[in-house]
Amino acid sequence: MSQQSNDKTFESNANEDIKSTRILIDNSSSKEKSFASKNKLNSILDSILKPNNSLPSDQELTKDIDKGSIPSSYDMATISIPNERKISSDNSHNTSEKEDPRRPIIIEYYDLPYKYDKTTVRVLAQDPNTLFVYWEISDKDRDKFVEQYGPNFFNETKPVLLIKNLTDDYVYELEINDFANNWYIHVNDSKCRYTIELGRRPKNSSDNSYIPVTYSNVMESPNDHVLFFNEGDKIIFKNIATKKLTTRVYTNGEFGNDLKTLYKDYHLENGRFDYRNPSSQNPTSNVM
């Protein structure tokens, strides 16, 4: 992809979207465009992007905003350029498609926003013993902390995650760092509901205070073994046609033998089953 060398002239500032004008021409799947047409493109772009164009002013853009600013890394431009000639390098060009020769080409280039400026922490489960957490602290909240605790707040504190196991009722703490905005956490207990709290602690270890920032959703880690039964456990059956429920009681004799026989087929080890079940879409590469 080629980049305008003078795009710095058009660098956006945080409160605008359309004015940001880093144009990239995506050549990854396009036919050969002639040198001449590329130049024409550039000159058209130049004329649109001069200061005295008719793009909305700051005031117009910000008048009705009740949202925060757009992250400054969000760059996108759409320019419409009259498509003066069909660009075709070979004669197998599709002629049955109705192509309006005057239809403009829209050029798009997007970066994913590097921040959304909203304080959040969220947790997902990668597998029974691994959680994935991501977070962000908004500028507004940063300012609030600075206002309350002083300008050096973020320098003098370190971020921590409190990992709360709601099922087994315990909490532990994990120190992270300010260069990260996500983390993988190993947890010992599968099939438990976890929630994460993001907080800060002073770097000075003699100070034990803790400042909470925000907390996450609840996510249950998946199960990773066969639960089996205990003598006397209730087993419920439902007739999905009549909706009627019946209850049976598990006894090692009556159900236990059949259960053991059937589950033997799965070659469980400690109640765990071997996942090297061939997975989808790649049958020739999964080895059994």
Binding site: I106, D127, Y134, N182, I235, L262, N277, P283, V287
Partner: protein, 544 residues
């Protein structure tokens, strides 16, 4: 079930999941990824349809279940893609004709060239005359006949365990999936293919809301269920919210999938990687590969697997047929044995559930569709203790089911969410979550807009961008390292378009109030409406 007088002690249920990510690029003919659709049509969908027809013509009763995902249905129904597919076939006919000339130096290969010429010619005829250029017509025919149960799937194959952080987005994926089904099919929708078999209990209530009766899960989705299913994967379970889950049978899936011992590895079968796209002289093959000259598969392959060797022997159709018969017989015998044994230990006749990607049959394993045909025929005619069945039919016969919640699981590598959540793609999820939240926010802010208003158009397009970015395919592709740049660009494009529309709605409120947009933005909207035109009837209010 197939009605023959026999002592049925159990059932076998084949479920084929047909899915492709939505790839539609009206702006250019150069996207290699559109080829996925054309290849799947030629190598899987048409061969399967033709085998179904053969069984019907021969009065053989059979049952298969298939999921056709909404993106695939949308693509099958898309005029531009239908036109391009015809061109694809015409080009292949032309190539096969040239091959018939070029390969005259070898009788065996030349015979195959003629075989491919006949095949592509017949495919073109079948597509134009019997399908009327839309494959869905034929699938519907078999659905109406009662031999092919069609089940639904999530709107764009979004992976529920990750999207569930905003439950409305999962509900919307389900709702759009159900709507897409009813756009093309008449029979009541009973089953739902969870994308990647990604099960979370929280989606059950939404499935029930749309009348879904059952889903499919991976083996350990059943084995690790709470409480433990008494009959393993040989009987379904029903969750407290009322959704039935069937689990994949281990033994039969390994027999088919395994690349080492599995059927597709039989030495007589066609070798996937020896394609004239790679083997033929460059100048000769150039018009039939990619526009920028990169060699790709054409579908014309002359060699068989032969063995664990680089030296490949020429493919022989008769020998392949022998292997098909042998494999079908082997599969058949194993199920008979398995069901004899299991039926002694289960309360109801056991059900052996065999879900596969439809692509396995035909695309990866060229002889797959013939295997299914041969197997169905054997099951019908031979004296055996089982029948083919669909999950819904099984539930009508045996409605008494153990209540249990399946384990949060998937059928991806490692059995959980690793494939869609790891170091290579975890940067994406926050964007999906934010966009989902923003979509719900937009629906709340602008409920019930008038049908022909511009704002509604914009919000509907927001919803399209949202579901397109949610496709689990992008995450999968990035993990597996195949067309990574394309997948990453798709995510960026949809997030970018969504975000631009979002700010357009919020910032330019003065223009929006008058239901107008300036020219540039209008052109932008029309452009992306043209490119991202999935779900033409999208109604943003599903996020309300």
């Amino acid at each position: 079930m197939a009605n023959r007088n026999k002592n049925v002690k159990g059932y076998v249920s084949f479920i084929l999941h047909a899915h492709l990510p939505y790839v539609h690029h009206p702006e250019s003919e150069d996207y290699l990824e559109e080829q996925w659709f054309f290849e799947a049509a030629s190598e899987t969908y048409i061969p399967l349809l033709k085998r179904f027809q053969k069984l019907v013509d021969e009065n053989i009763d059979f049952r298969f279940t298939m999921s056709l995902t909404p993106p695939l249905l949308n693509m099958m129904d898309n005029k531009l893609l239908q036109e391009r597919y015809i061109k694809y076939l015409e080009k292949h006919i032309e190539l096969a004709q040239k091959e018939c000339e070029r390969t005259q130096y070898d009788d065996r290969i030349n015979k195959l060239s003629h075989y491919y010429l006949d095949r592509y010619t017949e495919d073109l005829r079948f597509f134009k005359e019997e399908c009327n250029c839309c494959l869905i017509n034929q699938f519907k025919k078999f659905n109406d006949l009662g031999v092919l149960e069609i089940i639904g799937c999530g709107a764009t194959h979004g992976y529920f365990p990750i999207l569930i952080l905003n439950e409305k987005t999962v509900k919307a994926q389900i709702q759009l999936g159900v709507q897409a089904y009813y756009k093309y099919f008449e029979k009541p929708l009973k089953g739902f293919w969870l994308p990647e078999c990604g099960y979370v209990p929280e989606s059950d209530k939404y499935l029930r809301e749309f009348g879904i009766e059952y889903v499919l899960v991976e083996t350990h989705g059943i084995l690790y269920a709470d409480p433990t299913p008494l009959y393993g994967t040989y009987a379904p379970i029903v969750s407290p919210d009322g959704v039935v889950a069937f689990g994949r049978d281990l033994e039969s899936s390994r027999q088919v999938w395994s690349s080492i011992n599995g059927y597709p590895g039989d030495f007589n079968y066609r070798e996937f990687y020896r394609d004239i796209g790679f083997d033929a002289p460059y100048e000769y093959i150039k018009p039939y590969i990619t526009y920028n000259g990169v060699r790709v598969s054409t579908g014309i392959k002359y060699y068989r697997i032969t063995g664990k060797t680089e030296e490949k022997d020429v493919y022989n159709l008769d020998w392949a047929m022998d292997s098909i018969n042998r494999n079908a017989g082997d599969f058949f015998d194993n199920r008979v044995r398995q069901i004899n044994y299991l039926s002694k230990h289960t309360e109801n006749p056991p059900i052996i559930v065999c879900p596969y990607d439809a692509e396995l049959y035909g695309h990866w394993w060229y002889e797959g569709p013939d295997f299914l045909y041969t197997l169905a025929k054997k099951i019908y005619y031979d004296d055996c203790n089982f029948s083919l069945i669909t999950p819904h039919e099984y539930l009508t016969k045996y409605p008494n089911i153990q209540q249990s919640t399946p384990c949060r699981s998937s059928w991806g590598a490692n059995g959980y969410s690793y494939v869609w959540l790891n170091g290579s793609n975890d940067y994406i999820h926050r964007h999906l979550h934010v966009a989902g939240d923003r979509m719900c926010e937009l629906a709340m802010r602008y409920p019930n807009l008038p049908q022909d208003s511009l704002k509604r158009r914009i919000l509907n397009q927001c919803a399209r961008e949202l579901v397109l970015m949610q496709s689990s395919d992008w995450l999968f592709i990035i993990t597996n390292g195949t067309m990574v740049d394309y997948a990453k660009k798709r995510v960026k494009d949809h997030v970018g378009r969504f975000t631009k529309l979002y700010y357009m709605m919020l910032k330019k409120q003065s223009l929006i109030e008058e239901d107008k947009l300036d020219e540039t933005n209008m052109l932008f909207l029309e452009d992306i409406e043209n490119k991202d035109d999935i779900f033409p009837e999208m109604d943003y209010m599903i996020y309300y």
